[in-house]
């Protein structure tokens, strides 16, 4: 499992390289602003729920550990 993050990061990095190297050839012709806004909101909408899920997971885990600690004492 340790190899997974490395592979993922390398893969993503190799893909992101296109961003600087190439101008966008086959894009819709609307403004640069819209494209930036789509990138930004996509990142925003994908990161937010994942962050909340991870946060919720740790919150519940902490509550459960507290719960277990009371059980043992």
């Amino acid at each position: 499992m340790k190899a997974v993050p490395a592979i993922v990061i390398t893969g993503l990095a190799s893909l992101f390289l296109h961003f600087d190297v190439q101008a966008c050839a086959v894009c819709f012709s609307s403004s640069e602003n819209t494209r930036a806004a789509f990138y930004l909101t996509t990142a925003f909408l994908t990161v937010l729920p994942v962050a909340m899920l991870i946060g919720g997971f740790y919150w519940v885990r902490k509550l459960q550990q507290k719960h277990d600690a009371v059980d043992q004492s």
């Binding site: 403004s31 806004a37 719960h67």
Partner: protein, 199 residues
């Protein structure tokens, strides 16, 4: 959302079981997760629609009252502070707690009324929901928040009613659940204010 924190919801019949955290608080937190995503979507929509416009605000549309709304935002923040105090003294000084809760509701009502007055003004200046996408997203986002404020106020009112009644007991957990929801409503406002009014 009122339902979740409304005190008439029967307490968990498995009350003798120790819960991770009070059910009403847990349910409110999960609800807020959905609400966060709801507002995240509205914010995304706002950014995308705005980025596609050539001029923002569009020509011939009135400007929003930035300063008056800033003052109004302070009312909302003050209400959150009152609620914080109210919950803190809930078990020790119940009469003071009750007063602070009433003050919270009063401040919240002031906020909603001032926003409503602002809307009436804006509509008379020609900014309506169909006048442009500018008006559309403005009323959509601020209106969605306004509805949440009203929902939160109803929940707090329900708490207050229970606090006054002798037959029903308000538990600290119910009040906490209402408090969390109110904090969310207050906390999302500065974000929306910055986005819609300032930027």
């Amino acid at each position: 959302m009122i339902l979740l924190v409304a005190p008439e919801i029967p307490a968990n019949s498995n009350a003798e079981r120790r819960q991770l955290v009070s059910s009403s608080i847990f349910a409110t937190v999960i609800l807020i997760m959905t609400e966060v995503m709801f507002f995240a979507a509205l914010i995304s929509a706002y950014m995308i629609i705005r980025s596609g416009a050539e001029e923002w605000p569009p020509w011939g549309q009135p400007r929003l009252p930035v300063f008056a709304t800033a003052l109004n935002s302070l009312t909302l923040l003050a209400s959150a502070f009152c609620l914080h105090r109210s919950v803190k003294v809930f078990s020790s000084q119940s009469s003071q707690s009750k007063q602070l809760l009433a003050l919270t509701i009063a401040l919240g009502t002031v906020f909603v009324s001032v926003q409503g007055y602002e809307w009436v003004q804006l509509i008379s200046f020609g900014l309506t929901i169909t006048s442009s996408t500018y008006g559309g997203v403005f009323y959509l986002i601020i209106g969605a928040h306004g509805l949440h404020v009203i929902g939160g106020l109803l929940a707090l009112l329900a708490c207050l009613r229970r606090l006054n009644s002798t037959s029903q007991q308000l538990t600290i957990d119910n009040l906490r659940a209402a408090q969390i929801f109110w904090y969310f409503v207050v906390g999302v406002w500065p974000v929306l204010y910055t986005l819609v009014y300032l930027l």
